[in-house]
Symmetry: C2
Subunit: 481 residues, 2 copies
């Protein structure tokens, strides 16, 4: 039954592609191993029929694949095999594929190409796409590409490269189809029929006045059902979500989510149409944003090529470990200050990590929720007091429940009632500290105009670690020793 | 200049809306306070002109707002004010708005409605949308809604409700426009013009045979530029990404990302067209998936209404704290086993959290990267050995660098060379343990058919904590005490 429409593409097809490529590479490797073992001279290998057949087959397979699927294969191969495949990919698809792979893998591919190849790859792309690649390209290559572009596209490239990565302009392309509002619908259809094909993600065409200022949009789904003798002005939609190139990309993405957009016009301060943002770029942006949030939370500087070298990985993870070492050192010095008490009552050493650990957990729960609500725009500064009251309530309740449980356990382990009471009190206080810091850190960050997500987890863990040790050992010193 | 096209919607407009609603609520509250202070009898308040005017103004403001913007306002208001606004929202928009708000806020709204209101709200929606709300609706309401639906939609609702949340079917709607392949393009355009408007996100119409089996798609952008006398078969695209309702939603979302789709047909096992998935649903899915990853990492069971009650929050965070308490307890018992050594050399108590902490961090870096690569399909089982070798390399390098630094610091603090050496050795070993666990845990999870992301962070932290304490205190006991 499925054969009835074999050209269709199933969701697992790209994985089958990967396996096919891996099989072909495997065969390729077997032949090469013969050479390594010197069972076949190198020259003979290159000329060998089997070898050439393998490569031809691999190349044919790659030619039939979608650029995004080739990108997937490249990402999934260890470096050596990745480069074998990369060399076989038709040169005129290099640009497209470079756009699809992750930053880390793109670096490895670009490093394997000379400037001539890079210029050729970039020249296949449109201005906004070249701008996306630009940060990874050598200076000279960008210069050469720039020189080779027609004037209009040069302007576009210059403008696309001028936006920071977190601006809506970085998501923008220049593939806008526009008409005037006094045009008749039948004229619009005739005009559109002159195109070989409309730009990708054209769900609407833009309506502008003679100064190129945006007046509205004409959705294709509306154009198609409109009477031919109407004018554009009759059927166009004027309640249009528009963005400016300097708007934050995150806000642009939220507008796409909120209003279920496929494309949105970008205008300048004067309302002149300068480009558009399409949902495919927004999807990529949302994905990469959420990935980098996850990576940052785990202390990775950036996306890492899973097959990268040991040294590249060490560099990527270095900064975070250094920060963590510093906070751990501070916590260690807090403990050091109480060594005298620990010497007298060694149970403290065994119990103190519990107080610190639970505090860190609870604090991370609070701060994650607050940071998220701030990002969604749900929390304003004036809510601070309300939120703090609530979180303190949560922490007191948790402190009493878990603190009492731990107090009992401490008593049961060491048969010292005062130790149990100190444990309960320290837990409750550290949870309250965690709640307070969890609310105040992100709200303060916002007030200082910083991203509340950045480093919030490190900061709160540092506070609850050192704070937890201090509270617990301090109380113990006061009441037990 | 901006006034030239005032109907346009800027990215900040919804925030201005929120502020406007808050101002109106503020005025509303001021009047109510007069009643509370008994400076005005309740009956007089209700009848008071000011009061009625305030509410009318608020209602007018809400009527003019997009459902998604009202949802944003509802999310951003504390419970009491949220319900004031909710009552003022026109009843015929309830359904749409319930779809837009987060699960946690939806619960609070639904709790405030009686069954009649809920049935009325659900009846405004399409089958796939009702299915989205269904988990939050009381049994009786779903029954009533079901009875009220026409037969075709009943079938759709039944089918939509039958898919688990993580299946592509859960993203599916039934708004498909389809034509036969032997139709002429001009007939297609005439057919489409009979619609008042095409369903949202119609970027392509589906081409089916007389048994409703999918033969291809006809993108609107292609339809618009096609010659009228061609037949659909001449211009349709047959290389179509299709999904089945039982495919995993995550795979469906990846296909949208990979191939930049706006909509995709859903077929059954026989290739019969049953519905479609659109990019707006995919964007929501990606967002909620990444949110729940972040929340899970921080130990929150689910999305939390930031203004929810203390008790609801405690329940949401309970499970994680309990697990954490258990792992902390185990670590504490490991330390307890070495109390004798700590008593003799109390510096161990101060240094041990550093070894455990850095191990936890490094392990989380490794496991996050591996889990992410598995999710992207880049890592297969056969890569295990290669990845382990690399991660061990990274950990040894880090162990030597940071371990030596810490060894020096320990020596400097306590003037004991052997203590410094034990510190360095323990750091290196714990980092190697972290690397091993970081690679093996997710790969084992995959082999067992489980989600490698779930609980991986807790597990690795537990291992590096207990392991770190054991290694450090064990070495110290062997060589120092």
């Amino acid at each position: 039954m499925i054969e009835a429409f074999s050209p269709r593409k199933d969701l697992e097809d790209h994985q089958a592609d990967l396996r096919a490529v891996q099989d072909l590479l495997q065969r390729h490797r077997l032949v090469e191993k013969l050479v390594e073992r010197q069972e076949m001279p190198k020259r003979q290998l290159v000329e060998s029929l089997v070898h050439r057949q393998n490569l031809a087959e691999l190349r044919a397979k790659l030619d039939a694949m979608h650029p995004a699927d080739i990108a997937y294969v490249l990402e999934s191969l260890p470096l050596e095999e990745r480069l074998v495949v990369w060399i076989l990919v038709k040169a005129d698809r290099d640009g497209e594929i470079l756009l699809e792979v992750s930053d880390a893998v793109r670096e490895t591919l670009i490093r394997s190409m000379d400037s001539q190849e890079l210029v050729a790859a970039a020249e296949q792309l449109e201005a906004d796409e070249i701008a996306d690649l630009a940060p990874d390209l050598p200076e000279g290559v960008i210069h050469d590409v720039f020189q080779a572009l027609p004037i209009e596209e040069r302007e576009q490239l210059r403008s696309a490269m001028s936006y920071p990565e977190d601006a809506a302009g970085a998501l923008m392309d220049f593939d806008v189809v526009s008409v005037r509002e006094d045009t008749r619908i039948d004229a619009v259809t005739r005009y559109l029929r002159r195109f070989d094909s409309l730009p990708h993600h054209t769900d609407q065409i833009f309506v502008v006045d003679r100064d190129e200022r945006l007046k509205g949009v004409l959705p294709l789904s509306k154009l198609i059902v409109s009477e031919l003798e109407h004018s554009v002005a009759d059927v166009m939609v004027t309640d249009v979500v528009t963005m400016q190139a300097r708007d934050r990309a995150r806000e642009a993405a939220k507008a796409f989510e909120r209003y279920d957009l496929v494309s949105a016009p970008v205008v300048d301060e004067r309302g002149k149409l300068v480009g558009r943002v399409t949902v495919d770029k927004v999807v990529d942006f949302i994905r990469s944003e959420s990935q980098s949030e996850l990576l940052t939370q785990a202390g990775l500087r950036e996306e890492e090529d899973v097959f990268s070298s040991v040294w590249a990985s060490v560099k990527n993870r270095w900064a975070w470990l250094a920060i963590n070492l510093m906070t751990a050192f501070i916590a260690s010095r807090v403990i050091g200050a109480f060594e005298h008490s620990i010497e007298k009552l060694v149970a403290l050493a065994a119990l103190m990590p519990i107080v610190a650990g639970i505090g860190g957990n609870s604090g991370n729960q609070t701060i994650t929720m607050i940071v998220r609500s701030i990002a969604l725009g749900q929390v304003q500064r004036e809510h601070g007091r309300k939120l703090l009251a609530k979180e303190l309530g949560v922490s007191l309740l948790n402190g009493l429940i878990w603190g009492s449980a731990l107090g009992l356990i401490a008593y049961w382990l060491y048969r010292k009632l005062p130790l149990g009471l100190v444990m309960t009190a320290a837990m409750t206080l550290n949870l309250a500290l965690a709640a307070t810091a969890g609310v105040l850190i992100p709200l303060t960050m916002v007030r200082l105009g910083r991203d509340p997500a950045l480093g919030s987890s490190v900061l709160i863990t540092a506070i609850t670690d050192s704070g937890g040790f201090f509270i617990f050992l301090g109380l113990a010193t006061l009441f037990l020793v």
